[in-house]
């Protein structure tokens, strides 16, 4: 009984907690190896087979999802199309520079589609825009914390002396 008591007491030391947590998590992950795992192929926003678009020399590969900029929406398979009125428009949009680049070369699809417009922007800013709010808020908060600590302690030594 006293041994249990001591074990319980030791769990109250902060330094042990991350180790303890990782052991528990490790055990749970081990369970994952015996679980029947399979990817359900009915997913939202499916994408073509890897390398398919680039092998067909599509200048917008690997993010080409059809559509005409500012005219016709691209193809997206979102969860609730009824809630995003202009669904697909962002996907098909190309900025003028991007159009220029796409006419020049076939190997810059990634850059073209990560400049404003494109599928990822559609997901990140439109259909799942709220996620991005949080994401950048997390970054901002981490930065606030880190700079506060840095400015008030780790960096401000000269004046204090």
């Amino acid at each position: 009984m006293s041994r249990i008591g001591r074990f319980w007491n030791s769990l109250a030391t902060p330094k042990k907690i991350p180790r303890f947590y990782s052991v528990i998590l490790g055990v749970l992950l081990l369970v994952g190896f015996i679980m029947p795992l399979a990817l359900n192929d009915q997913q939202l926003y499916p994408r073509p087979t890897p390398q398919l678009q680039i092998d067909e020399n599509d200048p917008l590969a690997p993010y080409d999802r059809g559509g005409v900029p500012l005219k016709e929406p691209g193809i997206v398979k979102s969860q609730y199309p009824q809630f995003s009125e202009k669904s697909g428009m962002v996907t098909s949009y190309l900025s003028p520079i991007a159009i220029g680049v796409s006419n020049t070369t076939i190997y810059y699809g990634t850059s073209i589609y990560s400049s404003p417009g494109g599928l990822i922007d559609e997901i990140l800013y439109y259909s799942r825009g709220f996620d991005t709010i949080l994401e950048s808020t997390i970054l901002m908060m981490a930065f606030v914390v880190a700079t506060w600590v840095a400015l008030h302690f780790t960096m401000k030594r000269r004046e204090e002396e």
């Binding site: 994408r47 890897p50 390398q51 993010y63 699809g109 990634t110 780790t154």
Partner: protein, 86 residues
């Protein structure tokens, strides 16, 4: 198609090798060595991204890895300077 498998399995090998190296590789008692070894796993993860054509994520990841490396190295240097016994 073969290429995809080569990328993927190279990525897998690198990720696992890198994490083993980070965990128990030679000389990992030195945090600098450990931080360097994480780069291998990072390249492995990048290759897995490449396999799935997550190229935008890949670019971001490459940039973020650099920033993370810098943050970690700064911590290592700073702690070494202070002479911290952890």
């Amino acid at each position: 198609m073969l290429n995809i498998y080569i990328w993927f399995y190279t990525g897998v090998v690198l990720a696992i090798l890198g994490s083993i190296g980070t965990a128990i590789g030679p000389g990992v008692k030195d945090p600098l060595v450990r931080a360097l070894n994480t780069e291998i796993a990072a390249v492995g993860v990048s290759l897995i991204f490449l396999t799935y054509n997550h190229t935008i994520a890949l670019v971001t990841y490459i940039a973020a890895t650099t920033i993370i490396t810098m943050i970690l190295l700064r911590a290592i240097v700073r702690l070494e300077e202070v002479g911290a016994e952890l």
